[in-house]
Symmetry: D2
Subunit: 481 residues, 4 copies
Amino acid sequence: MAIKDGEQYLRSINQLKPSVIFKGEPLTGDISEHFAFRGLLSTQASLYDMQGQEEYIDSMTYLSPHSSEPVGLSFILPKTKKDLKRRRAMMSLWASRHYGFLGRSPDYMNIALMAYVSAADVISPSNPEHAENLKNYYMYCREHDITLSHAFIQPAGTRLSALTDSFEDSIAAKVHEYNQDGMIVSGAFFLATQAATSEEILIYPPPTLQLDEHNPFTFAFAIPINTPGVTLVCRESYVHGDSTYDYPLSSRFEEMDTLVICDQVQVPRDRIFLYGNASVAHELAQESQFHAQVSHQTLCRYIAKTEFFLGTAENLAKLVDLHSDTMNEQISEIIVALEILKSLLVQAEEKAKKNKWGVMVPDKGTMLVTNTYFPKIYPRMVEIIQQLASSRIVMIPSEKDLQNDASYDLNKYLKISDTEAFDVIALNRLAWELSSSSFAGRQVQYERFFFGSRQNVINRLYQGYSGLRDSSELISRFLES
Amino acid sequence: MAIKDGEQYLRSINQLKPSVIFKGEPLTGDISEHFAFRGLLSTQASLYDMQGQEEYIDSMTYLSPHSSEPVGLSFILPKTKKDLKRRRAMMSLWASRHYGFLGRSPDYMNIALMAYVSAADVISPSNPEHAENLKNYYMYCREHDITLSHAFIQPAGTRLSALTDSFEDSIAAKVHEYNQDGMIVSGAFFLATQAATSEEILIYPPPTLQLDEHNPFTFAFAIPINTPGVTLVCRESYVHGDSTYDYPLSSRFEEMDTLVICDQVQVPRDRIFLYGNASVAHELAQESQFHAQVSHQTLCRYIAKTEFFLGTAENLAKLVDLHSDTMNEQISEIIVALEILKSLLVQAEEKAKKNKWGVMVPDKGTMLVTNTYFPKIYPRMVEIIQQLASSRIVMIPSEKDLQNDASYDLNKYLKISDTEAFDVIALNRLAWELSSSSFAGRQVQYERFFFGSRQNVINRLYQGYSGLRDSSELISRFLES
Amino acid sequence: MAIKDGEQYLRSINQLKPSVIFKGEPLTGDISEHFAFRGLLSTQASLYDMQGQEEYIDSMTYLSPHSSEPVGLSFILPKTKKDLKRRRAMMSLWASRHYGFLGRSPDYMNIALMAYVSAADVISPSNPEHAENLKNYYMYCREHDITLSHAFIQPAGTRLSALTDSFEDSIAAKVHEYNQDGMIVSGAFFLATQAATSEEILIYPPPTLQLDEHNPFTFAFAIPINTPGVTLVCRESYVHGDSTYDYPLSSRFEEMDTLVICDQVQVPRDRIFLYGNASVAHELAQESQFHAQVSHQTLCRYIAKTEFFLGTAENLAKLVDLHSDTMNEQISEIIVALEILKSLLVQAEEKAKKNKWGVMVPDKGTMLVTNTYFPKIYPRMVEIIQQLASSRIVMIPSEKDLQNDASYDLNKYLKISDTEAFDVIALNRLAWELSSSSFAGRQVQYERFFFGSRQNVINRLYQGYSGLRDSSELISRFLES
Amino acid sequence: MAIKDGEQYLRSINQLKPSVIFKGEPLTGDISEHFAFRGLLSTQASLYDMQGQEEYIDSMTYLSPHSSEPVGLSFILPKTKKDLKRRRAMMSLWASRHYGFLGRSPDYMNIALMAYVSAADVISPSNPEHAENLKNYYMYCREHDITLSHAFIQPAGTRLSALTDSFEDSIAAKVHEYNQDGMIVSGAFFLATQAATSEEILIYPPPTLQLDEHNPFTFAFAIPINTPGVTLVCRESYVHGDSTYDYPLSSRFEEMDTLVICDQVQVPRDRIFLYGNASVAHELAQESQFHAQVSHQTLCRYIAKTEFFLGTAENLAKLVDLHSDTMNEQISEIIVALEILKSLLVQAEEKAKKNKWGVMVPDKGTMLVTNTYFPKIYPRMVEIIQQLASSRIVMIPSEKDLQNDASYDLNKYLKISDTEAFDVIALNRLAWELSSSSFAGRQVQYERFFFGSRQNVINRLYQGYSGLRDSSELISRFLES
């Protein structure tokens, strides 16, 4: 079978041994045993397991047009609305397993890659080989169920350096050399989430403004994560223990973010997708409809996550059982968000359109709206949990406190009505992790800036929304009537 | 034909001569000539005209199962999702004519009546005659295209009087006498919008809490608007002139709100739909799925109105042509609202379900969400117009100022770039009427409280949302996993 | 006495007969009899009456250093904090009479003129005559208790014309000719509030960016309001009746806004304060500390107005006597605003500093904060009134409805508990006028943009706040510690 | 000297060895060496050091009326506004040392104790001994510079148990026995912050509603923190390392919160301040003016903290040096908050009044407003830091990454313009700890609920605000005018 299972995934990740820096030291040994990664890897392995299970295989795979083997549905090049619905059903299954906490469950990059390859013809006129490379790479990933990460943002101080410094001194990501064997690349990329737990990495910086015919700052490629010269610098881990009682979320869903540094990395010729041509790079970004396609995945994820918030909010309210007007209003805010997200998903599929290459694309306007909406309501949902959990979560005992409390009897004092202290604390610990912990803080920033700064996301909507002109003309006609 | 046209509508309204009090005096003469009503009546007549026009008749009517004549699609008892979509298409046409400003365009009450009649079987066991009356009345309205208004809220000080005062002294709406000929009713009802411009009025107060077997405060009926004993007290009119240049909205869309006072009104026997049985009254309110059905109409209206705001906002921004980040964000807020409303409509139809009597009902949860969402964003959209229009709308000249300005040359000073003063002022006057005038103020209050106080609307959602239990259990299972 | 009383004021206003355009026609007859002006004029006359009354004269006047006659305290050149406190006490008395609804009660311009004259020495080096003119004019106004208005903003499309068009074609306000007798000026100015009810007008457009040595777009002067060539174009009036029952606010406090058009206006030589020198104009604007000084007046006004909102909110809540959590929160929001405004006033005086000319200036930072804060909370207070008044204000009967209701008995149905219908309706009409009428809408825009666009007000604060550097360095030191 | 220094403080804390449970195990060894406490203790020791230093001693102490030794100014029973200003100056010095992050720097409890003792005469009539105990205890604390903590909130499930269960079974805090030697108490109390780093603890639960003459659930007392039967259960520590570079805040300011469990605790007779009399307990709570007095301290703290946020925000904005409108607006929001807090402090002192025992109390209304305002703006300031820091803080390297980066050269890629990577990262780590870490999350909850739930704080204001009646009557008079 082309799909892999959890065990295959873990084995592959452990064998790759990329250069990972954790707290200033190279990480050694099996990643799957490392405290900062094992919970995440176990969750991710369970995702891969799902797709092969009898219960799910039909709804999570399709037969590869190449190998006739079942391959993951998130790889599919959708041609019909039905394809979109199948893909969505598959992604919803994964999202319901990780409750939307994994920003980089594998389906995200599978769709991203598919989006680029769907517009590969943009590359062909200027470089048919690169276009072919991209198509082959997509097929390779699909047939081997490759776990892919990506990097495209450069650190704040580096990008301008392409314009202001000499090529030699520039610290912007750049191609040093391009020749028969491939190309040599250096540069730094921010925020490759889950890079250390992926098999490959796709690097595709947004093209610079430099308009030279031959632009060494413009390129795209994919390489194995353990390619020499690639270093992954980890942030601090927010895993503070293995107890799923104390850390119900971080013990399972803490994705590591890394800074990717490429130092004279040799990219093989057949892995180059773009080089030197900024206008083609722009066109590919545009024509791939990247945002509309990957948002299909993120929207499934948003829905699962919002449902998780709703249940937590309701259970917190039920715990103290007052149901004040204020509580009802707060919970209703989450209900409203959940149904809005579900509706946006229905509409995105309902109004989907084929692009010029026959690929079915979820409605762009709807998706741009979603990408503006969720970063605004997510922090508010977090705040609602804080408000409902109140000062009760400032001091929460831990599992061990409950186990060893013979002398001070927590159980006696911390139960609420019929709810045992054990369950009260479990819910409070969840509320804490969801709303106030470092894990929560990173999730807030992650969701808030998932598709870029607020201003970028808004301008993308404002400029990309086709209905604006109609509304404007409606008013002009009205005033003339 | 069973559908009427604008001329028939105006003739009927003028002939009825109900008792209307305007500024403390009885209104005399043709209503269609009165400055406070003529603009509205002209707009409403144009709605009736539409449905008979060749361009629209097929999409706005269906063949009556009774008479085989074309009747208005808003009367339809929908049995399929396709029926819902047809009904929506019809309502969207009307909404696009009045841009959502008419809260009581006739389709609203047509659907309300249909909703009640769809659950008429709730009444049958206790009183088959009343159930039959309701069905006959629906058919009468549909076949004669009756323009209906309704009243159900009692003034703040009166309702409690049913519980605290003797029956004789009580100022709550009540049935004095119930006999072979019908019943005699007194009471006051707030906020019958467009009562003076309707042919009939349906009066159906929410049942009181009194649980006596025979409850004289529980009833429902419909009567001609000119029935003796019925007085309609108007509020101040916000029509300040006929000029569509100076008053682009109020000159066309100012619906009059009235207080309805019934003094010993004789209700004919065949117009009684409910009497004395509070539990049946409650059940009918519930089983009719009133909110889910009429919200199908209001949602079409919300979309048309939001589109109007979007166009106005965009044109205001284009006028000064700065497109600051702040402006883009403000306009994007309206885009987001518009697409959310459209999505909610798609989902409401997509998830519609048949009730036990085989009537197709738009998804209740989606509709309750809509009814919570719109009252929150509507005032915000008004505020966005205020912000975009800025101090420019504090002083706006009028049509006459432009006509007579030989000596002071407004045209010279008030044009902006290529936009002539005439067009600048037209847009500013629209912005004023939409955001800051008495007309605007009444619209804000109307939309804010359309389905009741914020707390009522939220509690209706919180209690009626079926997904809450699922989410709650999801978390309980997660914590046990 | 140098101070005037109401009768003198009205006589003067009626005698001036400036060129006022109302609904496209020249206004004739006594302004004090015109429906759109009489309520305002009566209120303003009562302000002038106050200052001469035995009860108030000591706290509202001081002895002129010139004439030893009592003159209005708002004219004072404050030298001590005690002077500031006296001035504030005087302004609070006027504000408590008009409840903060008059944006241009005479004290505003009195302080504005004082601010400019306090920095007149900025003008002397380049033109001692102009500096002298300004000082003389201030003394003239103080000794004759002149009612002054002002204009400085040019219509959106005109200002740029100074840069883009030839001098001849330019529609920016400009000096055509400057000679021994004075100067000839043309141009349009937005939003002179109360111009038609003032005796004089001060015109002082912000200097353009043009840096020519001799700049015909830079000037300042004051002239009698009836100077030939000056036309005042009124907006629509929001006075809809004289009844203080139906229109408790607009019948008393509706200030007219006008567009001022100057067509070849001859300015006498002794009334020119600035001409041609843009850098002096900039310096005067800066050194006068205009914002810090006039904000002392506006802050008194804000406090009176906020107190008015608080009382209205509380009475609305008491009417239905539920005191839900939501109501308490809404009212508390206004309490918080009121006490914050009061505190800002205390601090502004406490931290006041003398400028280089020995004039005591309220703390600039505090005042810039106030000017950012109030435009944000004012619309929110309006919204709170809307929320508390709820749908009850959608339909409110009028005074005449109550007088003539023999046949339909409003009194019976509209009382709430012990509050008679007459009082219920009076409160509701107030809530309507305060929150939803055209009068309310104009007040919202007026307060929102009183000191310019939100962005301007914020940038003025951000750039003018001296504490920013300290805070920044605090953090730098902390990080190094 | 009566004041202690840091060394004395640390020695005392280490010697006491109270029963502290940390991660389910008793804490052994010196607390000042424990990773979770050492940073905090070092900061707190530096506070004690300050007051004895020549630079500060005059402004931080006053001469004890008892011993004529210098004692801490936060103990003073203020009699004049000057006393308040001296106290404020002292507290501002401490707050500027801990930047407002310590919710329980010693001055807080010093003022709380002073507030209770100022109203000790409330206790005298019913029990002169208890009143005397309280006075003596205050003197003891002042003369020995005792570090005091307190506890008064009971866990959500326990308090009702006083009413619903038998005395024997009740899990509400209660007095088992009261006799010649003192009393025996059991119960649990939430959220004693810094209990493990204090010398004594004051326990004073709000009186229950039970109105029996003799109420065993009503009491107040203070005991040494190491009294047998007292167990302090710690929450998880948010100290994740000693590096002040990586953890600039938590390494210094992480206050531990504990659950206090009393199991048959023997309270000595001379430490009982209240017993059995619920009405006296209520009166003491009221008459002590607890909120108005301690808010004097919290307001100083709020100001220091807000200034810290302002500096951080400004430095974040300067780092990327764009100064967009949005950034200016965000920073201005913090400026507004800072100046409002400062103004509230000025007014609270300016309007302070003596109570019936001659103690000067900061203006109550102003303080209740402050307590409503800060919990609302604090989370918003946190959000502003998140927005300004953007996705840059999702992945931040650590000190060790910078030290060992020979092979991957972080310095090269992470500098921004002229700011070295070392400083960029330092600022980002601060932004992370301030806005997104567990430390930040706990601070948000702590500030949000410092004086109780939002609803409690609001109702306290609404009911305690004396200006409400005046405003209400103002409107009534206006409507009658």
